[in-house]
Symmetry: C2
Subunit: 415 residues, 2 copies
């Protein structure tokens, strides 16, 4: 970065970065430093700490199923509070700042309460504030809904607000501030010598996010990739440079076709529908109700057995298990299945890296390393850039360590 | 009230009525009962309990003098939260309700951050919600400011929002729900046999409010009087009918020209500017800076002494004393005064009742009752419907009891 280049940035600060007055002050000082270097900055903020959970709890004390319009009205206040306080902290440092709600900032949505999607950003107000030398502080997680109402976006999507705003403003990059130093080769709590990656390709990030490394929301990564917006994930508590998330074309060829990270996920449950007649439309009948409730299905295995009667297994997030069983049991009864069984004893371990599927020898090294340590692989799924083994939940941590060693991920990257 | 009359009401619930989930539930049940009787209701709500103070404290942790626009943005969230929760509690009882911010409800203001005044109410949205059979739940204490921003009204003015909305909608009456049963002949904590009044005249209420019986904001009373809007003050925790605040013409003649209540106020400080030359423009020079800061001045006494040099005393709220001295001392020095002294040892006791000033014998009974008990009267001020004595702060409670007895206020009213 040239010393004379004035960058226009979007910086997003998550709830843990803003959990207390003291943390808000630290965030304000960091922004103050960016501004002192001549950068122009637009901010997106999440609600402070556990505010959103606290508001949901307050709603649930009053209503078993809170009305969705009213719940959005309530939850939107969490981000308004943190936007106002962050703006005040900037004023205290002599910076002119202006807190804006999602609707004020021009975030238009499809108006679906509780899980709205951004349809358009009209950044007139934010541009005007930037041009007037002010720092716009936009409340994330919200936008304009029907009849001028406020709606909230799907949970965890202040990242999405930030990336979408970055695209709409055409900024140089979008910085996601969080409570970790960046993206690691594995979860450092499991693999102590896990190494922070300087560069990650969008597709790799997407696989890691979906596999439980919830540093950034997958939809935010998708939007960044679609529009080629460079994203940096970094800590709001340190000056470490973080991890840059970039297009494949921006990465040297040497870093490709090799394993880049080991991801794991213990939020896994398996549902098995036993003794069902294998006929066309079976999967549709079973899975459509889950899709309607936004429950993601993963790793479907169907064992063809005698006389056209089969067992069908699939995995879901363990947190979706109760809802899944409620939806699946009536359908299973209707199609004449023998019974429905659930297991929460499995977990996933994955290796991730652009091009690994087409690289000979990687899969066999993975299976070999696990087998050598007596870890049984229940099933395997793959994508272009990922190999996932379903193993015993109790062995997930050990498997993660083994694979991190096997692919030598603590050694410095080629980049 | 006829059994067949369907009333349109505005009901306002204060912060203490909404301090917890349980209280919000009780409020919702009360509204549910009103609706079951066929009434149509529009609600105005304050922030829950101490929310506003908590938000101010959070702001002050980050900024010595929070930016006024950002502070309004922050404080407005308190009423948004209580509006959403109250609406949800109504939904839970099967009532369709809709939380609205001040701007959504059509509250237009003069845009002065922190102490905006309502300039206009455009109740289109509220009317539409009522006509659709829904209960509009409006966030009090806020309205539309410059550039689509949210501004807060002067503190304590959710009452004002409620009365102004009642006028704009042309409702049958405005009900102010609070944590007391109504307006009493004296503060029941000081005078145990103080009696709840069934009817109070606007002007009496205004004097009582200004004298510290902060059941309802004076400006709300003024607006109600100006538009002849009947107001009922009642408890959200009991079924007692409360106190109706009405025009003089609505009160039987027998209740007039007699003492109706004893009000007291210990939030009093006296400032004396000593040794100042008495010349034209003196009071203006001294008091204009206080007026600019919205500090109310009461009971001005000027002793003309030898050689045109005088002492000038005035009383203010004790809570304004520091600010007053900061403003007054430079001016006093500039005009050559000898010094400025302050005392916080005085308080006020007042008798209130329409027509008492023109009723012979009342003033002398007041002074006599106090003198008989050895209470020294420092100074006396009067209005059409009020007689106020400045006495030793330590004697305020005793003076209140004496006057309540002297005018036999625990005996049932003529109405």
């Amino acid at each position: 970065m040239s010393g004379f280049h004035v960058a226009l940035l979007v910086q997003k600060f998550g709830g843990s970065s803003l959990a207390t007055s003291e943390r808000i002050r630290i965030v304000a000082e960091r922004i103050h430093d960016s501004l002192s270097q001549g950068d122009r900055v637009a901010l997106v903020v999440s609600a402070m700490g556990d505010t959103t959970d606290d508001l949901i709890a307050a709603a649930q004390r009053l209503a078993s199923r809170p009305n969705s319009r009213e719940l959005d009205f309530l939850l939107s206040t969490g981000e308004l509070v943190s936007a106002a306080l962050t703006s005040m902290a900037l004023h205290e440092l002599g910076r002119d700042a202006v807190a804006l709600s999602g609707p004020q900032a021009g975030i238009r949505t499809n108006g679906r309460y509780g899980r709205a999607r951004i349809t358009e950003i009209e950044p007139t107000r934010i541009r005007a504030e930037l041009e007037a030398g002010r720092v716009p502080v936009m409340a994330g997680f919200q936008g304009l809904g029907p009849g001028g109402d406020i709606v909230t976006l799907a949970r965890g999507t202040s990242d999405t607000s930030a990336v979408a705003l970055a695209v709409a403003l055409g900024v140089d990059r979008c910085e996601i501030y969080t409570d970790v130093d960046g993206i690691f080769t594995a979860d450092p709590r499991i693999v102590p010598d896990a190494r922070k990656l300087d560069l990650v390709i969008y597709d790799e990030m997407l696989e890691m996010a979906k596999l439980g490394a919830r540093v950034m929301h997958p939809r935010a990564v998708e939007i960044a990739e679609h529009f080629g917006m460079p994203v940096v994930v970094r800590s709001s508590f340190s000056d470490a440079p973080g991890t840059e998330i970039v297009a494949e074309s921006a990465v040297p060829i040497e870093t490709m076709q090799r394993v880049r990270a080991v991801a794991h996920d213990t939020d896994v449950a398996r549902v098995t529908i036993r003794g069902v007649s294998d006929r066309p439309g079976l999967a549709h009948a079973l899975f459509q109700p889950l899709a309607d409730r936004h429950i993601n299905i993963d790793v479907i295995v169907q064992n063809v057995s005698d006389g056209g009667v089969t067992d069908l297994s699939f995995t879901i997030a363990e947190t979706d298990l109760d809802a899944t069983l409620d939806l699946i049991r009536p359908v299973a009864a209707e199609i004449g299945a023998r019974d429905v069984a659930a297991s929460t004893e499995l977990g996933k371990v994955s290796i991730v890296g652009v091009g690994i599927q087409s690289t000979p020898g990687i899969a066999s090294r993975m299976f070999g390393a696990l087998a050598a340590d007596g870890i049984n692989i229940v099933s395997i799924t793959t994508s272009e850039i990922r190999l996932t083994c379903l193993v015993d939940k109790a062995q997930v941590a050990r498997a993660t360590e083994l694979l991190h060693d096997e692919f030598d991920l603590s050694a410095a990257d080629a980049v």
